[in-house]
Symmetry: C2
Subunit: 149 residues, 2 copies
């Protein structure tokens, strides 16, 4: 909890927290907005956020075989988790190439894939990613998210 | 050089090297094809490739303020370089959102941005990325690339 507090203050220092009236992706109005895209610009945040996300999966005893980040902001977060904790990574593309691949990396059907996302409002991006992964034969049981509006 | 040899053998082990006749993005025919998208699936490669890329920038005494990876395969490579060596990262999006942002992260006009790419044939992706970054006020002097066909 202390770490989370420090992270929020650090995000505020780096102008990632804005107050006002913001229309979220889901259509909801929020008096606060987090611009988490700045995370990648501060190496300290780029290391700390994935550390906290991974810690959360350990606390919750989440079991998984591979990790998929939702593009774009969560891709670097998933990358650091995978490099630091020795997990295979899958990349969900935002758009398909000609040959229609939406998930890159070695897919092992039946593997349990953890979804990593920076922020959710309605959860539609996570759900969409889960569906794509399941279409490829993967199992999705959990998603770890930094911020839930 | 020894490290590069080991890397190529490791890529071959993981089925990233294919022999036959392949039409590259540039239209050229090649008797060999590297599917570098598998890198993310092997944490060892995910750590080793960025290490070698960064080493190359040091050998060549390349100076830069921030790092931008070309989506998608090079995004994780740029991420690891930035996390390990304390550089701010920029993400080049493959497609614009409604509000037209093609580069995410904190942009400091005048900063020198290193481009990271996994593979080049004609170099068009690197050039396109350089143009996008320059449009945002960044300077691009170098790109570090794992494989040049």
């Amino acid at each position: 909890m202390e770490d989370i507090k420090k992270l929020i203050l650090k995000l505020h220092d780096e102008d990632a927290v804005k107050f006002g009236e913001f229309k979220l992706k889901s259509g909801l109005l929020s008096p606060i907005y987090f611009d988490l895209r700045v995370i990648v610009s501060y190496p300290e945040l780029l290391r700390e956020v994935p550390r906290l996300l991974h810690e959360r999966t350990e606390e919750a005893e989440v079991k998984f075989d591979c990790v998929c980040g939702v593009p774009y902001t969560a891709l670097p977060l998933a990358t650091i988790i995978c490099a630091d904790h020795n997990h295979p990574m899958l990349i969900r593309r935002k758009e398909a190439k000609d040959y229609g691949m939406m998930v890159e990396g070695v897919i092992k059907a039946g593997d349990v894939c953890l979804i990593v996302e920076d922020v959710v409002t309605s959860g539609s991006s996570v759900l969409e990613t889960a569906r794509l992964l399941e279409k490829e034969g993967l199992k999705v049981k959990d998603a770890v998210v930094l911020l839930d509006y």
